[in-house]
Amino acid sequence: MTRMLGSDAILRSLEAEGVEIAFGIPGGAILPTYDAWARGSGVRHVLARHEQGAGHMAEGYARASGRVGVAIATSGPGATNLVTPIADAWMDSTPLVCITGQVRSNLIGTDAFQETDATGITLPIVKHSWLVQDVEELPGVMKAAFHIAQTGRSGPVLVDIAKDVQEAEFDFRYPDEVDLPGWKPPTKVHVRQLREAAAALLEAKRPIVYVGGGVLNGDACDELRRLVELAGVPVVTTLMGKGSFPDSHPLNFGHPGMHGSKYGNWALNKADLIVAVGARFDDRVTGKVSAFAPGARVVHFDVDAAEVGKIRHAEIPVVGPLKLALAKLSDEVRALSPDGVRPPAEWLRQLEEWRELYPYKYRRADGVLKPQTVLETLQELTAGRDDTIFTTGVGQHQMWAMQYLQCDRPRTFITSGGLGTMGYGIPAAVGAKAARPDATVVCVDGDGCFQMTAQELATAALERLPIVVVLINNGWLGMVRQWQELFYDERFSNTHLTHQVPDYAKLAEAYGCAGFTVDAEDELESALSAALECGRTAVVDARCDPEEKCYPMVPAGAAAVDVLEMPDEEVATR
């Protein structure tokens, strides 16, 4: 037990949790805690330029490291600026502890300067939250916050701490255990359901393992691979699941969903058994739910019981931690087939044929740079590197990144899936770099996204967290433009950004980074190489064809099996 201030206790709690880094911005109501930082702490503080940036950095850190991300901000606007990252973390199950200052206890409820009801505003998008008005509660709350963020289905929590609590002196002792009688995420898996799942997997003629981000969050990638190789069954991974199973693995049949491959969508939709693992049948994957995989039975593995049967009925529900569940499923499969498993050979041949027939395709054209070419070149240049982590914004560039970048390791593709947060890419890359200083961190961004969080280039430059931003600059809010072209009779309402304003390379230089502008294909490789080699934060402004559309595409409301490919005349003429 040590006598100290609440502010110091916050930092001692972070240290006790093994936190190495926190991302934030100071302000009035959190000043005492920043003063504690001035007194010294083992926790590095990264000063962001906007609280949204700090939140996404904490997310990028969490996704790259598998640990809890920590973001810190002041009350009022500081807290509201954290709302987007909190919602993002909620949708993608990213473990996050957000700490916000609150006005003094005696001012709470009076509409004081920079007062906002932070716990109220975030109520629907946190696993749990606390408003701390008594310093004695602080250590227990901090312990509980970290526990809840990372157990069960991971996600964000918020700790809102009144300023007078930070200033109060008390006897600090960090608890060894949490006291949360209402928080009991599953730790076991029912054997009977595992047995049924194993039998179903072995009986199926056309099985598919449908893998989502839960496998990464549940640290179950090795167990997944062992199961898949044991049973010889094909896999598709969602956008969030990318990297959980190697993209280059022969049993990986790519990504299903709105901009997934035709073969990925067909593999999922024409299966007779879907083994969903840490995936939630999101509408971007299923398309029209009533037409989704009509011939399939479903085995659904998830740590969150509420996901099982939410969208699609699961004939065999398996609730529990995925690492344990998948390991035990392998045991059951082995027990049921003592002479070895016979893989579904005919189905695999069919899937391979589709993969051959329907690759991602586009056509290069003279005098215009295609976004897909940029990504293909980036893929070639980074393939030889030991360790590359990609982050993205949201939109066409994100979908092309999913299609053309090959991720063979877990936690190397970091993107905003559920919330679809434009501007996620740059700060997430800074956070990923903080988590993995030895990795090459590349943010594939769009010009619309870039302008939402570009200020964090300053953070990257000054905090020595160098990232490479590959900007797919098509001068438009490209995905919106694509929808306007296809579904709104080409009425391009308010989507034109221009290629030239701002001058991205100059802007990068203004932020203390290196800037490159690429107008033509022959300048591409040298610029990308230079950016990857320079050791500084760099922005490569690749000015691309504004008319290029992202295919394949499942139109909203259509059956996923009716995925549209790029029309032949476009492939032929452009």
Binding site: S129, P181, G182, K184, D304, G309
Partner: protein, 170 residues
């Protein structure tokens, strides 16, 4: 179909808001909600009535279990539980109608909570359907104001052929 849920909730700031917010956000309509203390000071009990399909009910219960302050959720089937409600009904009662109203109240075991020159406030505790009947019968006399607590319910300890349905209990 209307379902009755009995929820044990930690008696902590914001706990009730988390439950009601969940219903609002997922689009479920609460028919009635009663909340109060239990035999344990640190625990409150909510009795919630919700009109939804079986599939939605399962979702509601699962989502509620994820709330950190929620300790236990039980669905109470009518035949397996004791359900009560309290109503206060202010009825117009000029002197020439009083006798009739008091006789009616007697049949229903309703008490007179207050008696004014031209109105009576009845207090009635009972099964919700009995309160419905009483309300129906006094309505022609002129109901001035009415308030019902929403029902509260507990599982019957008396032996029953079937056990109450328990959703994924922890």
């Amino acid at each position: 179909m209307i379902h009755t849920l009995s929820v044990q909730l930690e008696n902590k700031p914001g706990a009730l808001a988390r439950v009601t917010q969940l219903f609002a956000r997922r689009g479920y309509n609460i028919e009635s909600l009663a909340v109060g203390p239990t035999e344990r000071p640190e625990v409150s009990r909510l009795t919630l009535r919700v009109d939804c399909e079986e599939h939605s009910l399962e979702q509601i219960v699962k989502q509620m279990h994820k709330l950190v302050n929620v300790l236990r959720v039980l669905e109470l089937a009518p035949e397996e539980s004791v359900e009560r409600e309290l109503a206060l009904i202010s009825v117009a009662a000029p002197p020439d109608r009083r006798a009739e109203l008091l006789a009616l109240a007697d049949v229903f075991n309703a008490r007179v909570a207050d008696l004014g020159r031209d109105a009576i406030v009845f207090e009635i505790v009972g099964r919700p359907d009995v309160i419905d009947s009483f309300e129906e019968l006094v309505r022609p006399h002129g109901v001035r104001e009415l308030v019902r607590t929403g029902r509260v319910a507990l599982r019957r300890p008396s032996p029953k052929p079937t056990r109450p349905r328990q959703h994924v209990l922890r």
